[in-house]
Amino acid sequence: MIVYLIKRLLSVAVTFFIVSLVIFLMMHAVPGGPFTEKDMPLSEAVKAQLNARLGLDQPLWVQYTNYMVGVLQGNWGVPYQSPGETVISLLQQAWIPSLILGGSGVIIGAALGILIGMAAALRRNSWIDYLASTLSVLGLTIPVFVISMLLILIFAVWLNWLPASGWGKPERWILPIAAYAAIPLATYARYTRSAMLDTLNRPFVTALRAKGLSERRIIFQHVLRNSAIPMVTVFLPMFMGTATGSIFVEAMFRIPGLGSYFVSSIENRDYPLEMALVLMFTIGICFAYLISDIAYAWLNPRIRLGDDAK
């Protein structure tokens, strides 16, 4: 297990460097730079002076090396679009709303989705099953900005129960969390239903029933655990994706989160911020899969990791 972990961590490091190099090169291959102006061209002298100030006048490999040396020392640079702070301090502020709203959205959505999926599987072809299927198809097909818009119209404009948008007081969190929860809810309802049905039809369930175990114990102790593998596979990557913020949900609800930076850093050619976002996301996804793999082994002791698998 230890050897396995070390190997996996090494592969995370390799992935990190490959991604950093590819993104760095792609980023600089895109035409324009942080100071190519939209309205009027800058004079060459001004551009040269600005580029020199940011070190953009050096050869690419020098820029890359300097950047990576900085990153390894914990210095992620200064974002061009917010020069009064560092990339880290900017991300620290922006991460919180995304994590709170996106994270709660995924957890709540997944929990509800599992419950709905279970109910649908246990009461197959009943109204609850049809409702679950309708909900999950709607959740997966209606774009999240339309869901956001509907939530605002219904709960803020018509019923006047909740604020339309903004950040701060917890009552402002409810609608965006609901919007974030839509996709996880739909996904989990579908996965849970099909995984449970699959498990329920397996012979060991019949055997357990024949042994006289209560239906509750069969469902919660055996069926659910055996159905959990696909759910674990989806959870962490989905959590990473949502907890880093959605540009649509954040724009609709005016949340000062991470989502918009994924776009604005590219649009503004804000190289330090763009690199930081991509690299942090890469690390996050690598660890999400690593943790998922460990969770498989815990859920199903027949799965062996690393050399033990031989």
Binding site: F35, M40, P41, Q81, N160, P256
Partner: protein, 515 residues
């Protein structure tokens, strides 16, 4: 016991998408919201576009027309108590010339400040600029040629607090603690992650245009009408712009609260004059006559723009009916010209691709449907196949400067209220990398001619050159529609002489009340 009056806060959408520097003289296009409200310009325009002395109480021009002397109001101070001096204005432009990052062209072309180009190119020392603080309250500006409209140009000349810059460097304007203001507002809060700035009334401000409300929140997360309108309906915001789809519904519900604002802006087609098929003047002119501008604005654009018949929008100083009446829809003439160029009914005409840039704001609703309308008109009338390419702003500008394509859809919004602003776009390779000697000569003469009438006549002749050579095809002038809370009042909430409401800028915020 006296009850303290409730602080009057007005919340409006901000238009800033980056939180760089709160210093107009450092960056104009990427400035933080409020940069132009916390500092005091030398002059400003009121809602009827009258030039009004603000930081300058008076000015005079030397006999040769090259030197201007501005007298700064003696009572003005920075919000930290330091006196506002002529030196702060000189420093502001020195700073813009050496480390400013996007408005150098303005001070070169519009300002014509002596030695500006040499200093920005690094060929001359910044001390050689035509700027001088004669004493604490007297500012002298020398231009390379007479600039009769300089008092309008300096409406965008805001001081920079040299004493703060000396202490904190460039970063003085990135941080609420180190920002000091000379204008009617001080920064109370700046949330960078959504570019939201809260400004409070500056209690020590002694200049003209004193605010009546206590606070303004410029919330850039409300910039999109899709977000602003629901927030308005829920009572979270005092004003929002409207997109085309929202106009009808909001007109029904808030008939008296819909304000139409002019935008001194022109959308036009520009060509690469050296690239086929647009190296032929008849081809360019065929396009000029092939557009039914009235149909475009009244049907496709649902009145969020008015037809453009010249580069200057109606109401803009120097606007000429003689010029405007030539841009008519004449499909027969358009076909004739195209046939004359060797493409009867568009036969043999290569497929072209028009490039335009993605935009937010008012042009976001105008450019895409307009491009599609042009596409169908050119097909129908001229038999030309035109494809459309939408590009991010930077890529579009880069493409146009590097001349990567032959036809562009270009928007331009004015920077100062003088015809030289619009004509400057095409002057000597300005924005479109071409040099038309006849045009350049006329614009140069017009810029320095001593009387307004002479100037207008020369600009008119310059635009005639543009028309004769088919340099551009004027298309539309945007207008914006806002819905405004019924709680707002004051002079800013009544229309001007032309029936338009003033644009949301320094004037409005200082002439606004809230119940």
């Amino acid at each position: 016991m006296a009850v303290p009056a409730l602080a009057q806060t007005v919340t409006v959408p901000g238009q800033s998408t980056t939180a760089t520097y709160m210093d107009y003289m450092k960056t104009v296009y990427a400035r933080a919201a409020g940069s132009d409200m916390i500092q005091i310009g030398l002059t400003a325009f009121d809602k009827d576009f009258n030039l009004t002395p603000i930081a300058a109480e008076s000015w005079s021009q030397s006999a040769d027309g090259l030197t201007w002397t501005f007298k700064i109001r003696p009572e003005l101070n920075w919000s930290d108590g330091e006196p506002l001096t002529a030196e702060d204005f000189v420093f502001a432009l020195q700073h813009a010339a050496t480390t400013g990052y996007d408005f150098a062209w303005y001070w070169s072309f519009a300002g014509g400040i002596k030695n500006w180009d040499d200093v920005t190119a690094g060929k001359a020392d910044v001390s050689t600029l035509g700027l001088k603080a004669v004493d604490d309250k007297t500012l002298e500006v020398t231009t390379t040629a007479p600039k009769p409209y300089l008092p309008s140009v300096v409406s965008l000349w805001y001081p920079v607090p040299k004493h703060q810059f000396d202490k904190f460097g460039e970063e003085w304007s990135t941080n609420v603690e180190t920002i000091v203001s000379s204008g009617p507002w001080v920064v109370k809060e700046w949330v960078k992650s959504n570019n939201t700035v809260t400004l409070a009334k500056n209690p020590d401000y002694k200049g003209p245009w004193t605010p009546e409300i206590d606070e303004v929140v410029l919330d850039s997360s409300l910039g999109l009408p899709e977000v602003g309108v629901p927030a308005f309906l829920a009572g979270d915001v005092d004003m929002t712009s409207l997109n085309t789809g929202q106009v009808a519904m909001m007109r029904q519900r808030y008939a008296d609260q819909i304000h139409t604002n002019p935008v001194f802006s022109t959308n036009y087609i520009s060509f690469d004059l050296d690239k086929a098929p647009f190296d032929n003047v008849d081809v360019r002119k065929a396009l000029y006559y092939a557009i039914n501008r009235d149909e475009l604005t009244s049907t496709v654009l649902k009145d969020i723009a008015i037809p453009a018949h010249s580069i200057l929008p109606p109401g803009f100083p120097g606007y000429s009916e003689n010029v405007a009446k030539q841009a008519v829809f004449n499909p027969e003439k358009a076909k004739e010209l195209l046939a004359k160029a060797g493409y009867p009914d568009g036969k043999g005409f290569p497929d072209i691709e028009i490039w335009f840039r993605e935009e937010g704001g008012y042009n976001g609703a105008i450019l895409p449907p307009m491009a599609q309308y042009l596409q169908s008109q050119f097909k129908q009338i001229l038999g030309i196949t035109m494809n459309i390419k939408v590009m991010p702003g930077k890529d579009w500008m880069e493409g146009m400067l590097a001349r990567k394509n032959n036809i562009y859809l270009a928007p331009y919004e004015y920077d100062y209220l003088d015809p030289s602003n619009f004509y400057g776009l095409f002057y000597n390779g300005g924005r479109h990398s071409y040099h038309i000697a006849a045009y350049d000569d006329l614009v140069k003469q017009a810029d320095s001619a001593p009387t307004w009438d002479e100037r207008v006549k020369l600009y008119e002749q310059a635009e005639q050159v543009m028309i004769d050579q088919g340099l551009i095809v004027p298309l539309t002038h945007p207008i914006t529609m806002n819905v405004v809370s019924e709680k707002l009042g004051g002079d800013a909430m009544t229309p001007n002489k032309q029936g338009f409401y003033p644009n949301w800028s320094g004037y409005v915020y200082t002439h606004l009340t809230k119940n």
